[in-house]
């Protein structure tokens, strides 16, 4: 073996603290420039969708092109309301976390459209397998805010009995499957869930989300392969928000698009502007309809940007330029939907201010109400005997004995 005089290539993020972010080289096709195919389309005919970007809202805040879902203003307003609530809720929870009232928190800032638009495009019997970054799905399905807060502050009314860290919701009634910390595990489970719907002859679909970083896990590939092989009625989303924790998405995809991976699995694979409520709604609705008609799985890359820290445990200024989000060319999803409604003559700044005030009060009121059931630091929490419950359906003898040892 002769020496090459070089060494191992290791990529780096394009911009680090101190750099001026410049996204001018991103390939961002015009809104309305890609065509919406028939749901019966052969995946091989729409491969370009994996390299482009489905966009509906243009720079003048108008909805354009064949992907426009033509939603009624009332639906748009509902979406705006949920997104605004999510942002206010996140802000409040973060503040409470900083005061030591939550052990941990993760925000959705900059990605609110993902959970809200995609959630709204589904039926309520469709089964959700989110990551920790889509709590907004619960607003769409009408979950009681107090219940969500009780989970986050880990009190006696937390329906998961204080067993998980905050934002690891579970909500059976809303068909939202328990969120796990080990990333990516939900992806192939969603496929199995969809396989069961097909098996039972039911027409509900399953949907899952994971992040750009997580798309490097083996579970990602299991999911795509099984979904493709069994034509499972599932929608698989990679939320490419550019960052894992400090690791840039180029450690997950190189320079390729995530969506292009779906092509190799013979699936319709669509890259969509994740900050465009209408585009997200439309693509998800298309995928759900396909799945319901038995045409199989769709793979979606949701192209967005994680505007906040990964979680309350990290400080992003250590690994990326402070204002990188401000340079993000696809803007703020909430602003964009709001400006679209204003452009339609259906909304105004005053309406938005009123809405924000109303929701802020709602969140504060709900928080106060939740604290009646206990707090993280003072309790009451789920009672001590719950420690031994749900390990098995019925506690076996050794667990009953251990419970006695603890004196409860």
């Amino acid at each position: 073996m002769s020496k090459k005089g070089k060494t191992l290539f290791v990529p780096d993020a394009p911009f680090r603290p101190g750099d001026k972010p410049d996204f001018s080289n991103l390939n961002l096709p015009e809104a309305g420039s890609s065509d919406k195919p028939e749901i019966s389309v052969d995946p091989s005919e729409i491969r370009d969708l994996a390299f482009g970007l489905v966009r509906v809202l243009d720079d003048d805040h108008k909805a354009v092109g064949s992907w426009d879902p033509n939603l009624k203003p009332s639906v748009l307003k509902e979406g705006l309301r949920h997104m605004t609530l999510l942002r206010i809720f996140d802000d409040r929870m973060l503040t409470m976390q900083r005061q030591g009232k939550l052990s941990f928190y993760m925000k959705s800032l900059g990605e609110e459209a993902v959970a809200i638009a995609q959630g709204m495009a589904l039926r309520s019997d469709d089964i959700l397998f989110p990551s920790y970054r889509q709590p907004g799905l619960q607003f769409v399905r009408g979950r009681n805010l107090v219940d969500m807060i009780c989970h986050c502050i880990t009190n006696s009314k937390d329906n998961v009995k204080g067993r998980q860290m905050p934002v690891h919701y579970s909500w059976k009634e809303g068909n939202l499957v328990s969120i796990s910390s080990p990333v990516g595990t939900q992806f192939p489970q969603a496929v199995g869930c969809a396989m069961a719907s097909a098996y039972k002859g039911e027409d509900n679909v399953s949907i899952s989300w994971l992040g750009d970083g997580t798309a490097a896990e083996g579970d990602f590939h299991y999911a795509l392969n099984f979904a493709s092989v069994y034509k499972a009625p599932v929608i698989l989303n990679v939320v490419n928000n550019q960052w894992a924790i400090s690791t840039h998405r180029n450690f997950s995809s190189g320079e390729a698009t995530f969506a292009s991976r779906g092509i190799a699995y013979d699936m319709p694979s669509i890259r969509v502007d994740g900050n465009d409520f209408l585009a997200l709604y439309s693509v998800t609705n298309w995928a759900a309809e396909r799945a319901r008609k038995g045409e199989g799985a769709t793979f979606i890359e949701v192209f967005t940007y994680r505007a906040e820290a990964h979680s309350t445990s990290d400080d992003p200024t250590r690994y990326r330029p402070k204002d990188e989000w401000k340079s993000w060319p696809l803007g703020d999803p909430l602003e964009r939907l709001k400006l679209h409604l204003i452009e339609l003559g259906e909304w105004s700044k005053t309406d938005q201010n009123k809405l924000e005030k109303e929701l802020d009060e709602l969140v504060i009121k709900s928080y106060k109400e939740a604290e009646k059931y206990g707090t993280l630091n003072e309790g009451p929490w789920a009672s001590e005997e719950t420690l031994f419950e749900d390990v098995y359906k019925k506690p076996p003898r050794h667990l009953r004995k251990q419970r006695q040892e603890l004196g409860i």
Binding site: Q164, M165, S181, P182, E217, I245, R318, L387
Partner: protein, 337 residues
């Protein structure tokens, strides 16, 4: 000598070994530019270059499998798994591949991989940031398993682990990173500068794997423990008034059975403490080995104080985490029988 916490001790060990051996490289999730979510590799990438200390894709199975490949081709990789709770996607590569490579190739191939991973509870991390999965690995022939309890041992043991030609799983009890923790969560957190083992030589030194440390000498009873539980046991012994000998195992495989036997021959009584669940926990193995090696010296049944056979909870963490009170109670019971 310098004052170091456990994070700095890890960093110092890695720094020295990177300097000493150009075949050592370090990688894992967020370890490169950022320096690790616990900052254990802080500053090392800028000092040694991107090809020596680097970020990996978020894929534990990928991290361990590529580390094995590097090891096969002459490197000495140190892989970080961000939390021990996330080691399981790599379980197949660790237990079926890394552990068995030397054996299945008749000694032709091996991979001197070290896997560092923060483990254990006490940080309000719920069940996915608190587990102590050491027993899965002690049960797999071919792996060495090390768990330090203080900065001084951390550095010396980590250097030995990396220099060892066998694969080593190196668990770092994360509750101890910034200071000793005796289980009393209501007390103000201590820093390592209040502890003698926070004194760490700045230069190279190693502590052999498979050698326990006598944390406290005593005559009436032997407490076997490792990691965070060493500090819980120490405080419990102090409060109990029992003259117990505390052995910090430091390395579970290989195990210093001689030190254990010697102590129990002296005391005749034994309490085992670990955070991991009881059933099939390492305490079961210890108990069996003790009765094999010194049954006739035992004056009382061996007692285990462990985590319950449940997942590690979040809000009820302190009902799960083995407390000083439970250790004291077990010692008293052992003394009475």
């Amino acid at each position: 000598m310098a004052q170091m916490n456990m994070i700095q001790a890890v960093n110092s060990a890695l720094d020295i070994i990177l300097e000493k051996d150009s075949n050592v490289c370090i990688f894992g999730e967020d370890v490169g530019y950022f320096g690790g979510v616990f900052r254990c590799t802080d500053g090392l990438q800028s000092k040694y270059g991107k090809h020596r200390v680097f970020d990996s894709p978020l894929a534990e199975g990928g991290i361990v499998s590529t580390a094995i490949g590097m090891g096969i081709n002459g490197l000495r990789p140190v892989a970080e798994i961000q939390f021990a709770d996330y080691i399981f996607p790599a379980f197949d590569q660790i237990t079926n591949e890394l552990a068995k490579l030397r054996y299945r190739s008749g000694g032709e191939y091996s991979a001197p991989v070290t896997i560092r991973t923060p483990s254990g509870g006490g940080i309000r991390g719920g069940h996915y940031h608190s587990q102590s999965p050491e027993a899965y690995f002690t049960h797999t022939p071919g792996l060495k398993v090390v768990i330090p309890s203080n900065p001084h041992d951390t550095k010396g043991l980590l250097i030995s682990a990396i220099e060892d030609d066998d694969p080593v799983i190196f668990f770092e009890p994360k509750r101890l990173y910034n200071g000793p923790f005796d289980g009393d969560h209501k007390k103000a957190a201590l820093k390592w500068d209040t502890h003698p083992k926070g004194e760490v030589p700045e230069e190279y030194y190693s502590i052999p794997l498979g050698k326990a440390s006598i944390e406290r000498e005593g005559s009436q009873l032997t407490v076997l423990c490792y990691g965070t539980m060493v500090h819980v046991a120490r405080e419990a012994v102090k409060l109990s008034g029992i003259d117990a000998e505390i052995i910090d195992l430091r390395s579970l495989v290989p195990l210093d059975i001689d030190a254990i036997t010697k102590s129990i021959e002296k005391t005749g009584r034994c309490v085992i403490v670990h955070e991991a669940p009881k059933t099939s926990g390492f305490g079961g193995e210890l108990s069996a080995q003790i009765q094999e090696s010194c049954f006739y010296h035992l004056e009382a049944p061996i007692t285990r104080v462990t985590g319950w056979d449940t997942p590690f909870p979040h809000s009820l963490e302190w009902y799960y985490f083995p407390s000083q009170e439970r250790v004291i109670e077990a010692m008293k019971k052992t003394m009475e029988s």
